[in-house]
Symmetry: C2
Subunit: 360 residues, 2 copies
């Protein structure tokens, strides 16, 4: 069985240089009053306070591609489709965004080209640049040999994925057959976690903020009719869809019972969410348990799930541990949830190979 990891992140050299040069979120910094903390990566405003969980340690596993290959070897991963780790490039100054994106994408393409077939990638779009520059980068990416789509956050051009200003970009992605890897970053406003959130480390923001952000972003994109206007647009949704497979029934019921929507607020020819889940949406299998994975498969089909690791995030707490539990939780979930050997092979690698046109 060949194993392909579609959810695995890097900070290429050009991006590390940028993060180190900054002194506001997102950035890499050290803490003179706590030298033992080493270099820390601070990617969210809520992490940028003196607390028990200020940022996270950042070492070569984030930027040294040899570490990625070692990790792949240790976990039996044949091919990784790498993507920039969050945050992406929606925060860059508009005037330099395209140039920065090109430099980072070229860095990533070069790393893939030198990997001997082990690495492919999702590119990154300069979303703060004018739309025509974003469209140009979509076209350029589609001609790079190792690029297989783009990673994108939930904010789009600043107003979310239901923003009409995104239409030319959806059109370009559809036309160039570039898959969108939709990934959360901002989470939810910290007020929802209450006054004790710090006591729970990163648990609330990572385990809930991330998938709930994804769920809201995808639902807004769906409700705005993007998949009706761009029926061949494909989205790989991180973390098995956030919670979309579980909530799709409730979302469809709320649509069916909404007086305002019945009056014409939504297209009568709209495709329902179940159809979109089976035609436009792919889900990674990064859900850490077979209960969630089974629901994801039931929603989208065993031919639309793709194994992932989220490396280098969620390393073992014991650095001596050679095999990462965050990886085996997901591979065991595939074994536990899927009866047919053929379906297991599809999820572990064959789906990614087919959808992302990978060799082997």
């Amino acid at each position: 069985m060949s194993v392909i990891d579609v959810h695995t992140h890097v900070y290429p050299p050009a991006y590390m240089d940028l993060l180190r040069s900054r002194n506001a979120v997102p950035y890499v910094r050290s803490f003179p009053d706590d030298p033992a903390a080493g270099d820390r990566l601070v990617i969210l405003p809520a992490e940028d306070t003196p607390s028990t969980f200020r940022g996270r340690p950042i070492g070569p596993e984030y930027y040294d591609i040899k570490e990625k290959i070692s990790f792949m070897d240790a976990h039996g991963i044949d091919i990784s489709v790498i993507s920039l780790a969050n945050p992406w490039l929606d925060w860059l100054p508009p005037s330099s965004a395209s140039e920065t994106a090109r430099a980072i994408n070229d860095d990533v393409e070069r790393v893939c080209a030198e990997s001997g077939g082990r690495l492919y990638a999702f590119g990154t779009l300069p979303l703060s640049a004018p739309a025509e520059e974003v469209v140009a980068e979509v076209a350029r990416l589609s001609k790079l040999k190792h690029m297989r789509g783009v990673i994108m956050g939930s904010t789009g051009l600043g107003s979310g994925l239901d923003d009409p200003a995104l239409e030319p970009i959806w059109g370009a992605l559809e036309k160039c057959e570039q898959l969108i890897f939709l990934h959360p970053h901002y989470g939810l406003p910290s007020s929802v976690y209450g006054p004790r959130a710090d006591e729970y480390g990163h648990v609330l923001s990572l385990s809930l903020g991330f998938p709930l952000e994804t769920t809201i972003a995808m639902t807004r994109m769906f409700l705005s009719g993007v998949f009706d206007r761009f029926p061949n647009l494909n989205v790989l949704v991180a973390h098995s869809g956030g919670t979309l497979p579980f909530l799709a029934g409730r979302i469809e019921s709320c649509i069916a019972h909404d007086a305002h929507l019945k009056k014409g607020g939504i297209s009568k020819k709209r495709r329902d969410l179940w159809e979109v889940l089976k035609k436009n949406i792919y889900l990674d299998a990064v859900i850490y348990n077979e209960v969630g994975l089974s629901a994801a498969i039931a929603a989208s089909g065993a031919d639309r799930l793709m194994f992932g690791t989220d490396n280098p995030f969620f390393p073992p707490l014991d650095p001596e541990e050679p095999v990462w539990p965050s990886v085996t939780l997901n591979s065991y979930a595939v074994e536990g949830a899927v009866d047919k050997r053929e379906d297991r092979e599809a999820i572990m690698g064959d789906n990614a190979r087919r959808v992302l046109r990978l060799p082997g």
Copy 2:
């Protein structure tokens, strides 16, 4: 097969009088500039603006118990366990909260007593009152013949369900064997829905805000160790647990990978979320599709799911329709998701009968 509805709401007369007497959320009001709108119930601040979706019509289906019985007859429901519709009583002035709660609970108890065995109820706690008064109302409720627990929102005493000040109340509920019916009300901050939210009617706040609020509230309650300290506390979680069954794997993985929690931020003897889902949590079967329902059953067990309707919310858009699709979606989901007849009967009624000590 007998059918018991554990998720069905009323505004008893004492509560309607209160809502009509107010001029701020929550309240019942008419709109002089739009007489056709009739009486409108406005329960959320976001609804209290001139928009396409200001509040919702409120008629006898909310307060006339004859309508509830007719609805039950039309849908083959033998027994309903009624609860106050949101919002509950966390917003009352502290000095009068207990008195108001007693009046409302007595109203509900009287309605049940006069129903000839068709109605039982979850009471409501005066959460803005001093803790000892809340504890006293728990004890009083446990002696009323038709009360089977309490309905509760996600805010507790104002700081969420992980607030240490709730401990005496959890203790009283555990001691008096009163089930908590945990139900969302506040949703999420409206900023997460973006500038186009109004175009989607109530869909985002109802289909996502509600279950995501529930998920966060339950996760905070779990992380704070409530179920370790009160191992016999039982919670019936609305809408099949929000999204808890789907996300439980990710939550446990985030806990297992959190350096801060490993340092001692969480009890080493803690029971994990899967155990709590199978020992302390019951789930209603209000999820509108078999994908979500199957995940809920896989998480908690077919012996812990209980059928519900959410009546009088989600009526058919065509008022002539005699059978509500919002009800049949849920009963069809039970048929579709559950193979064994015995398990279907358990979910449709037998579990509620056993857990809530109902006759028949």
